[in-house]
């Protein structure tokens, strides 16, 4: 492999129009991923995200095999996983074991469906590792609908969800339906995961739903700036990843995950420096 396989920007101006849809899709996913990620971190759902994404992959692969819409399959898979996790895993310990049981099963089911699928191999692995030119108009439309639902419902439940996340007992005492909110949030998470699987692939969803929020939480404790930074970091990783992937022949995921990881490292470094200066001062 030559360096030009990884970075080659000679025909860049002609390639950009090919990925316009992907850029839009990436921006939508980064927006909802960055916001949902803040609650994923605080409700200790990182591992659940991974479990949901594997079942989302299984759903997409099965729907691909039987000739149905892949996005719909993805949504069906992740909503199923989200419901199982929400209804069975009330406590963090239970939840982890349920996710650990679901995850390999989902992955295996998806690989089975892909193995039986007669189409091209490149399409197959896109679901696991992401693909940049695969976002056609109908797919972009479904992603827009998914994002709109997540955004509207999340903004609606934001305040009581925050209250329930801060202190579930006090929130419940004030009449907040904490259990119902928890279930609604996991369903939103399922939708966000299903969307992210379309662009970055099932194996790398965490880079969009966890890493940006984790980096943001290193830098701020403000309830305004953490979501804003989280979305910003997700955007930079996602759009930067797509634009870099265009220059090479590699899948989009390594670019997205690397940028996202670098941002996290920088955030950790910055928070370390800030803490150190604060102690001195």
């Amino acid at each position: 492999m030559e360096f030009s396989d990884v970075f080659n920007f000679s025909d860049y101006d002609r390639l950009i129009p090919l990925v316009t849809n992907s850029l839009w899709a990436g921006a939508l996913i980064a927006l909802i991923g960055g916001l949902v990620g803040v609650f994923v971190m605080n409700r200790e759902l990182s591992f659940a995200v991974h479990g949901i994404s594997e079942l989302s992959f299984a759903g997409a692969a099965i729907f691909l095999l039987i000739g149905f819409d892949v996005v719909l399959g993805s949504v069906v898979g992740s909503i199923t996983a989200a419901l199982i996790i929400a209804l069975l895993g009330d406590k963090s310990k239970d939840r982890n074991s349920i996710v650990a049981v679901l995850m390999p099963f989902g992955l295996g089911l998806g690989i089975l469906a892909l193995a039986l699928y007669p189409g091209r191999a490149a399409n197959k692995f896109g679901l696991l590792t992401g693909q940049i030119v695969a976002v056609d108009d109908p797919k972009l439309a479904s992603l827009a609908v998914i994002s709109a639902i997540v955004l509207v419902v999340l903004f609606l439940i934001w305040r009581p969800l925050l209250f329930a996340t801060l202190d579930v007992e006090v929130a419940a005492a004030r009449g907040v339906k904490t259990k119902l909110l928890g279930i609604v949030f996991v369903l939103l998470l399922g939708l966000a995961v299903a969307g992210a699987v379309q662009v970055v692939g099932a194996l790398l969803v965490l880079a969009l739903l966890v890493t940006p929020a984790a980096a943001a939480l290193r830098l701020s404790k403000s309830q305004l700036w953490v979501p804003v930074l989280s979305v910003l970091f997700a955007m930079v990783s996602m759009l930067g990843g797509i634009l870099l992937a265009l220059g090479g022949g590699l899948p989009i995921s390594p670019y997205v995950t690397t940028i996202s990881f670098l941002i996290y490292l920088i955030a950790r470094g910055a928070s370390w420096v800030i803490d150190k200066t604060a102690v001195k001062a």
Binding site: F155, R159, D167, V170, A173, R174, Q223
Partner: protein
């Protein structure tokens, strides 16, 4: 005057173990009730039942004329002190504000009216300077004062406080108990105050509910905190000693308690 809270024949038991049996009492607006008893006597369980989070085995609990169920914005709840997850991107201001309108849908945008109410609530617990500190950086006592502000800001009809003084130094014990009592007298909030030490709140207490071995006594401090009353309740010899305005209970042995004396 109608009672804020009415407990009628309430019984709670798990399998064969009776936590408490046939509790009957009413709490009036502005009344400060201390709920005391040894560990495992079901004090916190009683609060949970009032909040509708713990199903009674039999009997009824009525809050403001309705059967108690899944909380209410007319209740201010101060939980027992415990460590908080430090990840949360929330500052003291944000936490207190959730006590005011955290039950409402939408984004937590702050109007100047909300801001004024939060700063006022913080000033009362002597925490104005803490407004911008992230919750994760608070000490146990500071967090407890934030919880008190969070519970009182909504001007609740009933304050349920579960050992609110446990993490506080003496000075803030006085600030916090005085504040809760003040809310009772001025706003007419009823208070149920779980504690195992009556002394810091003795000036404010109207009535005492003493839970032990599934039974209870209710009355004024002087009626309940008597050697013969507590001896009968525990079924063993108990001495209640009054010394310079402090009440000390001696010999309150309990299955869950291995101290020779219990400071009540």
């Amino acid at each position: 005057m109608t009672a804020v809270l009415s407990v009628d024949g309430a019984t709670l038991s798990f399998d064969d173990k009776v936590i408490w049996e046939n509790l009957n009492f009413q709490v009036q607006p502005g009344e400060f009730v201390a709920l005391i008893g040894a560990n495992g006597s079901g004090k916190s369980m009683l609060l949970k039942s009032i909040l509708g989070q713990q199903q009674l085995t039999s009997g009824d609990i009525t809050f403001m004329g309705k059967k108690a169920s899944s909380g209410s914005t007319d209740i201010g709840y101060i939980p027992q002190h415990r460590a908080l997850d430090s990840h949360l991107p929330l500052r003291v201001f944000d936490a207190v504000r959730l006590g005011l309108d955290g039950h409402r849908f939408g984004l937590p945008l702050t109007s100047s009216k909300t801001k004024g109410a939060v700063m006022e609530a913080l000033a009362k617990v002597d925490a104005t300077e803490m407004a911008n500190i992230p919750l994760g950086e608070l000490s146990g006592g500071e967090m407890q004062r934030v919880r008190v502000a969070q519970a009182l800001i909504g001007k609740p009809k009933l304050i349920l406080a579960d050992e609110p003084l446990s993490a506080l130094d003496l000075n803030h014990q006085q600030v916090v108990s005085g504040l809760i009592a003040d809310q009772a007298k001025k706003q007419g909030s009823a208070v149920i105050f779980v504690t195992h030490d009556l002394n810091p709140i003795s000036d404010y207490v109207d009535r005492v509910i003493y839970l032990a071995h599934g039974k209870y006594e209710i009355g004024t401090t002087d009626e309940v905190m008597q050697s013969d009353v507590l001896s009968k309740l525990y079924g063993t010899e108990i001495d209640v000693v009054r010394n310079q305005g402090r009440i000390v209970v001696l010999g309150a042995h309990d299955h869950n308690h291995h101290e020779d004396e219990q400071w009540v």
